[in-house]
Symmetry: C2
Subunit: 302 residues, 2 copies
């Protein structure tokens, strides 16, 4: 099935206890596309970069079967840049620098070829931009997944709540779930959030795994215990890419299949954090993924 991915394509500069990078390729949509490219080759990207964005990086995405005809390249402008430093526990980070650049006036245009995509992944972006994409779809996709973050809750909560009415799956982390629901208990928070519109909620807990909720059931996927997490950047986006990529590949949006999709997302996130930036996602093979799914199966089997 066709999968449309909307989100940032960016430069990141990252510092972790294990090292430091200069500007490298990042952005939510980059991670989502790389991750989902292991599951589907009908992959369409809508995003924006500046003239400074390397042609090689676009070529790299195209080589992963990503249709980049919806990637706007703004002449004379600069690509979105984020720089951050992770604390020793890797669970928290400080943003050192954010340069919105091309994102400041991003007006997403969904090419005609893409506006009947069956699967739509709205990566973390300003809610009003996510909404503009929804409004351009010719028919309602079979599945809409939306990712967001605390920043939009702090500043654009009403816009976000408007978008939530139209999506099937919301992915957020545990603190964001508590903030959105104004409720500490995640089980209670999930009920509140599911009453806002989404039929499914995924709460990402980083090294503590992920929870998938619908109105009746809860599924829990562990995170793989790793010796070292080198760089958590993009883990949530890699998760989302694996999740929706698997659903698009299997074209089955039942709760039972979503459980498998969550495990595939968790597997992709576990690869992502093993090296800096997108590097690990560009190295792994299908056999690596199969072996890791097996690791996840064995980890919880009793």
């Amino acid at each position: 099935m066709n999968l449309l991915v909307v989100g940032t394509v960016a430069f990141d500069a990252i510092e972790t206890p294990f090292g430091k990078t200069d500007k490298i390729i990042g952005g939510a949509a980059t991670y989502i596309c790389l991750s989902s490219s292991f599951f589907t080759n009908k992959l369409n990207l809508v995003s924006v970069v500046g003239e400074d964005f390397p042609k090689d990086a676009i070529k790299m995405l195209q080589n992963k079967s990503v249709n980049t005809s919806g990637l706007q390249i703004k002449k004379g402008e600069k690509t979105f840049f984020w720089s951050g430093k992770y604390h020793n526990d890797m669970n928290s980070r400080d943003t050192l620098d954010t340069q919105l650049n091309v994102l400041e006036n991003f007006n997403p245009v969904v090419p005609v070829d893409f506006n009947d995509s069956e699967f739509l992944m709205l990566g973390n972006l300003m809610p009003s931009i996510q909404k503009k994409v929804l409004d351009q779809m010719k028919k309602r996709p079979k599945l809409i997944v939306l990712d967001t973050m605390n920043y939009w809750m702090d500043h654009f909560m009403e816009d976000l709540k408007e978008s939530l009415k139209e999506v099937d799956v919301l992915t957020i982390n545990d603190e964001e779930a508590r903030q959105l629901a104004q409720e500490h208990s995640l089980v209670k928070a999930a009920k509140i959030i599911l009453s806002m519109g989404p039929k499914y909620l995924i709460i990402k807990k980083g090294e503590h795994g992920a929870l998938l909720f619908n109105h009746q059931e809860i599924f829990f996927a562990p995170a793989l215990p790793l010796e070292d997490v080198f760089d958590p950047t993009g883990a949530g986006d890699s998760f989302a890419g694996g999740f929706i990529g698997y659903l698009a590949k299997t074209n089955d949006t039942s709760f039972e299949n979503m459980k498998r999709a969550v495990i595939h997302g968790s597997a992709m996130a576990s690869f992502c954090v093993e090296k800096f930036g997108t590097q690990r996602l560009t190295e792994i093979s299908q056999a690596d993924i199969d072996a890791r799914i097996n690791d996840f199966t064995n980890l919880v089997k009793f």
Copy 2:
């Protein structure tokens, strides 16, 4: 198989965001015995209380098939008392008061009837007291499980390390594992701790589940997502009781069976936190436990 439980029998006064108790029955050995009583009726207790400890509470343990002939009752002395207040997130707490009383000079005496127990649970106590129990065993138990906490690491690390050389399974929480191993990564910390003596390590992560390690493998058991955690007191001890109780019942200490034991321990902990103190453990039935094991199975099945 015979199970010998050594640990505190105490009074607790607990404050959580949900309420507050006066002096209620608590103590590691109390929770361990109540929890393991669902799995075995060959249950022997070694502990100490003061003259102020209610006869009813001892009767209650006896009604749960606990042989209390190793419970010293110190004339004219007072029972160990602990008082604590949990923070809003329930993951941390302040100790408000600790009165050691009878614990100050506790000299554990293992009755002759108990010193050939096949299963030995050393609940959280001063390491030198745990060692005194080990030294009184006529033959080495088939399985020795030791629980401890950061306080003993802060003040009696060398004593603790001595005891660790003699035990099969160590149960600690994630922060304690990091402290004991002086290593942040739990996977690396586990390797270091397993080189100190224990053949198996259980890292308890509270609401984030538990990890079981041996030298080759890792097993992960989730915690059951609960709407409310009323009182976390005794959850770790209830876990330990369910874990060793299940192993004693099945008389199988293979890694595969330990995985099932961890799930049973997690189930008992999930009951414990549903009400204040030991209350929930005194109400539940075998059918409740069976249903909860089923919940755990469904939670991770994909």
